[in-house]
C-alpha cells in the first residue's frame, strides 16, 4: 500500500507541476511544485525509515539472543534512530528555507507540491471505494 501511495504521489506531483506550468506559462512554476514534492518526499522517507526501525525492533524475533542482550542492543541503537527521527524536521525546515527564501520559488506552487501526498491518498481512497463497489 505504501509503495502504491508513494508512486501515486510522485505521478500526481509531476502532473500537477505540468498543469501549473501550463496555467502560469513559466517553467519556474513547475520547479516550485516539484520542490514541494521533494519536501514531502524527505518527510516521507525519514518517517518511513524511523517507523520501519521501530516495527523491526518491536516485532521481529532475534534468534539466539537473550532478552537482556536484546534490550541492551535496542538501548544502544536507539540514539541513532532518535537522531534520524528528529533531524528530519531540521532538514525539512532548511530545505523549505532554501526554496522559499534563497531560490524565491512560487509559494503557491510549493504548497501545491506538498499537497501531492494528500491528493494521492484521496485518489487511492477513491480507487479502493470503486473496487469495493464491484466486489
Amino acid at each position: 500500500m505504501i509503495e502504491r501511495v508513494a508512486r501515486t504521489t510522485a505521478i500526481g506531483c509531476v502532473v500537477m507541476a505540468a498543469l501549473y506550468a501550463l496555467w502560469t506559462g513559466t517553467v519556474a512554476a513547475a520547479i516550485s511544485v516539484l520542490a514541494g514534492g521533494v519536501l514531502i518526499g524527505i518527510s516521507f522517507w525519514a518517517i518511513r525509515g524511523a517507523v520501519d526501525d521501530l516495527v523491526r525492533r518491536s516485532s521481529a524475533p532475534y534468534p539466539g539472543v537473550s532478552p537482556v542482550d536484546r534490550a541492551d542492543t535496542a538501548r544502544k541503537s536507539s540514539p541513532l534512530a532518535l537522531v534520524k527521527f528528529f533531524t528530519r524536521h531540521a532538514i525539512v525546515a532548511l530545505a523549505a528555507y532554501g526554496m522559499m527564501v534563497r531560490l524565491r520559488l512560487d509559494p503557491v506552487g510549493v504548497l501545491a507540491g506538498v499537497s501531492s501526498l494528500g491528493v494521492a491518498v484521496g485518489i487511492e481512497a477513491l480507487r479502493d471505494l470503486r473496487w469495493r463497489r464491484f466486489l
Binding site: L39, S43, F44, L54, V55, A93
Partner: protein, 119 residues
C-alpha cells in the same frame, strides 16, 4: 441504496473539486486585499501570528504523532502478525500529520521572509 451511495460519492467529489478551485483562487483575493494594507502594524501582527501558528501546529502534530505511535506500538505488541498493515497505516498517518506542519512552516516562512504585506 447503491444509487444513493453513488450520488453521495459524486456530491462529495464535486464538493472536493469546488474546495480545490476555491483554494487555488484564494491567493488572488489575498493579493488584492494586501495591496492596500501595507502598514507596519499589520506586518508586526502577521509575524506574531506566524510564530504562534507554527508553535500551535508543532504542538498539535506532536500530540497527534505521539498518540499514533503509542497506539501502533500497543497494537503491534498485542498482535505481531498484523505488524505489516499497522506499519502502513502508521506511516501514512504520520506523513499526513507532518504535511500539515509543513504547510504551516511554508506559510510562516512566507510571512517571515517574503513579507507579502510589505515591511
Amino acid at each position: 441504496m447503491e444509487a444513493f451511495s453513488v450520488r453521495t460519492s459524486r456530491l462529495l467529489l464535486c464538493l472536493m473539486f469546488g474546495f480545490l478551485v476555491l483554494g487555488l483562487a484564494s491567493p488572488v483575493y489575498a493579493q488584492e486585499a494586501a495591496a492596500g494594507a501595507a502598514d507596519s502594524g499589520l506586518v508586526q501582527w502577521s509575524i506574531i501570528t506566524a510564530g504562534f501558528a507554527l508553535a500551535i501546529a508543532a504542538a498539535g502534530a506532536a500530540l497527534g504523532q505521539g498518540r499514533a505511535v503509542a497506539s501502533a506500538s500497543e497494537a503491534i505488541a498485542r498482535n505481531p502478525g498484523a505488524a505489516g498493515e499497522i506499519r502502513g497505516a502508521l506511516i501514512l498517518g504520520l506523513v499526513l500529520i507532518e504535511s500539515l506542519v509543513i504547510y504551516v512552516l511554508l506559510v510562516s516562512l512566507i510571512l517571515f521572509f517574503i513579507k507579502p504585506f510589505g515591511g
